[in-house]
Symmetry: C2
Subunit: 451 residues, 2 copies
Amino acid sequence: MKNSKNTKQIAVAGNGLLDRRLFLSTGLKFGTITVLGSASHQLLSKEANKQSTIDPADPPWMHTPGGPFSTYGKPSAHEREVIRVPAPNSAVPGNGVSWTPLHLLEGMITPNGLHFERHHNGVPQIDPNRHKLLVHGLVKKPLTYTIKSLLKYPMHSQILFIECGGNSNAGWNKQPSRAQAGYFHGLVSCSEWTGVPLSIILAEAGLNKGAKWLIAEGADAFAMNVSIPMEKAIKDGMLALYQNGERLRPENGYPLRLIIPGWEGVLNVKWLRRLKAVSKPIMTRNETARYTELQPSGKARMFSFEIEAKSLITSPSTGMLLASGQGLYQITGLAWSGRGKIKKVEVSTDNGNSWTEAQLQEPVLPMAFSRFRIPWRWDGNPSILKSRATDESGYVQPERDELVAKRGRHGFFHYNAIVCWEVDEHGLLSHVYDKKNALDTGNISIDAGWD
Amino acid sequence: MKNSKNTKQIAVAGNGLLDRRLFLSTGLKFGTITVLGSASHQLLSKEANKQSTIDPADPPWMHTPGGPFSTYGKPSAHEREVIRVPAPNSAVPGNGVSWTPLHLLEGMITPNGLHFERHHNGVPQIDPNRHKLLVHGLVKKPLTYTIKSLLKYPMHSQILFIECGGNSNAGWNKQPSRAQAGYFHGLVSCSEWTGVPLSIILAEAGLNKGAKWLIAEGADAFAMNVSIPMEKAIKDGMLALYQNGERLRPENGYPLRLIIPGWEGVLNVKWLRRLKAVSKPIMTRNETARYTELQPSGKARMFSFEIEAKSLITSPSTGMLLASGQGLYQITGLAWSGRGKIKKVEVSTDNGNSWTEAQLQEPVLPMAFSRFRIPWRWDGNPSILKSRATDESGYVQPERDELVAKRGRHGFFHYNAIVCWEVDEHGLLSHVYDKKNALDTGNISIDAGWD
């Protein structure tokens, strides 16, 4: 058959992975296509210039005028299942997360309505005219800023992911999670953030010698606070006022959020009200009891700020079905690293025996989502799909057994192991741990993203 | 005074424009800053590690738990004025536009809820399970695609502006528009679009010799249709399924929109149902009675597809007040070109006597919005602000008198002249035509963006 011959010529590895640059080749069929009979063809092919003469056979929405203009748009009612799924911590009201449905999205940008949430005492409804930012501590002049005043400062924009340090923590569990990809790994989202470089504000206040850390505090009822190394704050910090073009949403910190690019989500303090320059971290509950963990060495892992390279196949992924049976599919997913740009993403469809480089969508930006895609011909046999990210620092996303060996059984944060999706003989996908190298990771049972 | 001395050293042109790389210089003050007395300082500076001990003086939202998680977020109630403003054509129900409030946004991305609208017979509510795309005409095999089948194809993503050919057409009027910047120039928005390269679908159908044009038709009650040169369709066309990560919104073509990057908005057919390969344009009403105009030569300007370079200062802009009086402000705006990347944007604060290059936000992408910014010290005197874009093809955005001289008094589409914002002695901005070179452009009176 001509098709399979063509395909063979461009297959670059085992198990049907095709060259990533293959986006057009005669005979490659991706979708369900109907070659029309002449009758139905005639019916649909009325001359284009006879406009406004809608055929009786045309769909109902062509027979009646459409709906009105709207001042602020909403998704189609047919997309009502594309939501972030809340997982509140029932023991602590107002504490919990909601997950971005990564498996239902495409591209690099997360729309604002679907950016993941992580709250410690709910979403405060802040009046921007009454909100103030205080800059104090080891500074020459303590200063306050209103939102109005910050809006006059020079701004910059950056497309950045934010990932909760607790994202994907079900990966530490003994049994693989049954949640869909976004409800397992979706405490990460990517937006274009715009705001005032933090360095400008810190320079205005004037840092004293010895101001090595910055305490950031939110104006929620939890007064959420963290310690941040001053060097990073000056280098990359942003006082964000806009997300994807519009002012921040309440659940993402309206009217002011601290952005610390590439570092764990908790540092990106929402509803920011206070920045205090200090000589050392203040060891708040959020950096001692939480966001800290015991390692196999017996030492605690603390201030593990940086998000290491990670990737995930979002489609096809657990719970999905390869409904057309054997044939061509697109494998696509996301990769990101707090250390800079993603250098490459490799995909395996044979449980890691062979790897093929996927296409990275341009532009590849530092500390942002990189979308990867690669065509795959499924031969109808059971298969295990994996993706593996490498960032520009040379760091390679680890297999799960490597990560568990290094970090031990008390892991909770910064789970970034390679994810395995098993395809069964019916084309149904489910999450599995690497079968060759399966490890007993202990009787840990954590299901939600909150701590 | 130390401040003004510093500033003088970095001023690069007349009328207070400062070096675009100036984002941090000791003594430069952009906002309204309060140096705190020790009493209020004490009150706010409770130790950060005494968390959850909220002071009585803290704002009310820190005293009560915040609101719940949400499955799909919305903007703050305090931002309720940030809307797209509908301008329906009262003579033709369902026909009209709504404007993106460009003057209230920042960055490059337009959030989906605020992407401009242009409808000819309202917004159809389409069931994606019943929607089909027909590819026919001069093809080897007429084919239909369901949305489900298209979702299996290889995709790509691109951040692109879409601009209505009729955007800014109030600029042809004899009197300057009094509308705010977005309600005058906001029939342009920028999103990350994701979909199937059109070239794949056309190759599957197999184009016959002589298939030089493509007729695209929408499934709205207007059956909106246009002719597109096949060469461009193959080179750049996309069958878009996602906008800013999520599936298209109904008013932006759900479930399928044709994207023709860099060309006028009408070609980006929403609710796409039909692509017919033909030998020549079919001269529909949309490309003869509309989107066509008589020129000074007596010839009609037709098929003027490409959007030429254009820019606009979004802040400060007409209707805004420089409320802090003389001192430092950030001038910011947007530039875009259908021919590729923006090469530079120059800003003038003296009605074009002198120009200074603004900072372009990276990444600068082809056929996308480029955000520009430059600091400006207003001396308190009346001033006229302008921006001028140059694209990578070398095309320079024209002054209004040049454009009118070239295109004549019957202009309606593709208005891309330099925009002038006059600052009066009180700091209030309003739209003016260039006073030096003012032209009587005839008694044309067009106010809305629809045709």
